[in-house]
Symmetry: C2
Subunit: 337 residues, 2 copies
Amino acid sequence: MTDGPARVLEALRDARGGPTSGATLSAELGVSRNQIWKHVEALRKRGYEIPGEPGGGYQLEAAPDRLYPEEVQAGLATRWLARDLRYFDATDSTNRVAQDLARAGAGHGCTVIAEEQTAGRGRLGRRFFSPPHTNLYTSIVLRPALTTAEAPTLIPAAAVAVADAVAETVGDSDAVEIKWPNDVLLGGRKTSGILVDLTAEASRVGFAVVGIGVNLNVDPEVFPEEFRALATSLRAFTGQPIDRAAFARRLYGILEQVLDEHARGGFDALRARFAARFRMPGRRVRVLEIDGSALSGTVRGLADDGTLEIEREDGEVVRVVAGDVTLEKTLKEVEGT
Amino acid sequence: MTDGPARVLEALRDARGGPTSGATLSAELGVSRNQIWKHVEALRKRGYEIPGEPGGGYQLEAAPDRLYPEEVQAGLATRWLARDLRYFDATDSTNRVAQDLARAGAGHGCTVIAEEQTAGRGRLGRRFFSPPHTNLYTSIVLRPALTTAEAPTLIPAAAVAVADAVAETVGDSDAVEIKWPNDVLLGGRKTSGILVDLTAEASRVGFAVVGIGVNLNVDPEVFPEEFRALATSLRAFTGQPIDRAAFARRLYGILEQVLDEHARGGFDALRARFAARFRMPGRRVRVLEIDGSALSGTVRGLADDGTLEIEREDGEVVRVVAGDVTLEKTLKEVEGT
């Protein structure tokens, strides 16, 4: 959106639903009343409900359910994250777009939002189901001072932020947990995915792109069959529609703070917050590693480098770098089903 | 080069300098004698010296000093490396080109050669001086099954291959050593640089590009002032011109074998070969780290993850991930100057 309509929108927001005359807007913005009318028309085309007519007063009755920068950034409490915000109605993959922007020089904190991803990617090249206008699909360019060995801990760091944002939004902290390596579960079902793409010169990270998808208002019934039983959305969990722009603002605020801590103290600085939502230790799991090998054992915890420590039945502790983890049901859960 | 001229060139090479009649070529290749003439003309335009005329015999008297695929691949003993070879008379950076090719789907082993780099990059974003038609500037796309933590060991692996290729070419193995993290020295002077760019999805490498520059025939007098005293070329060292295409073939052959070993056994599999050319252990060094901090101490060796282990004067052993290392002169060297 160009600057003129954005300034009119800001002025109407400041009036908090009350009417503002074209004359006042014209004086405030230093442009003609005809120009104000054109800006209001531009806002209406974007879905803003603004009753009024040329010469009369205008008031903002409703904003569209869109993650426009002017929506997300209104009241955004970040210093560097999502200050440079690129909005797409649809794109193939926000991580792909953000990587292209980073290669073209986009700075630390440059953020991409898309209403829909036509080729949303999950971990290990898998599909991330991304229907339009219901969820949040966002990718953030980072230029961290990290070695390539440290960079994978950006995933649990981002998971801490997503989990906290989900917990605050649903108002039920106990319902939110982190499943290694990159899922945030709500009531035991997947509500979010995190994907980190890196470029590096040998041992030094050039830039990283943290991609986050959160199921906010999607009806799980529209999920592809294979995800349906495992996935949920914040709306499905709470029964209430979620203000997507407000969620994005909350997430960006928490994420900036988490990433600043990560930059200062590494993943160690976030370990306690992570541990509070990491309920896998002590659970029995089966792991299918990316090389095709499988193992079973009991989760010990997360190692410093972000790998999962598992104690096998023979007592040996192994570290899993990447793979699919299935939690074996506890007796209580089995009885409960 | 298109297929026709390449096939004529191959036939003329098979004749080992002897004349081949246009009629024979026409029969062998199954095209008209007029077409043969056109292919010969195309070869002449690329700098091949081929006396002869339409209707008469042709012979290959000299190949141009160019790293054309038809030159480098003639007699190349690799299975996957440089089989897909992209030649550029000049480009900004072969690593940049190879990364673009990889993103567009280029496979494991796809190789870029440029006669000149107008923006050749070294480590940490530095310039790599790349004058035309005298050296080798090449970048190889790899799709290795490596974690991001393991990937930095591609640098010492590549250094082993470059050092061996240089040693075989100059016929003086003792003169060649590896200086951490990415230099191959000949007679104590830098003759090669290695740059590894990575992309990764968190802990899993997507593709790596190994860039290698080797000073073959360049006269060190043309180096920028700041490099002159520290750099050399194979020609400056031996006093003999170096066959650049033959060097590239030798390097690719050794590199393929080294990378295959690295893929099977990790850097451990190459440790002995590396150690034989790594003369830093026991030497006193000063290190300027990329965060600007400095330290002095004695090199202990290379850690499993590719970092340099240094024992400080207070006895503490620290690992350096990336930085500039200056070897302090030994008493003998100081006396010798």
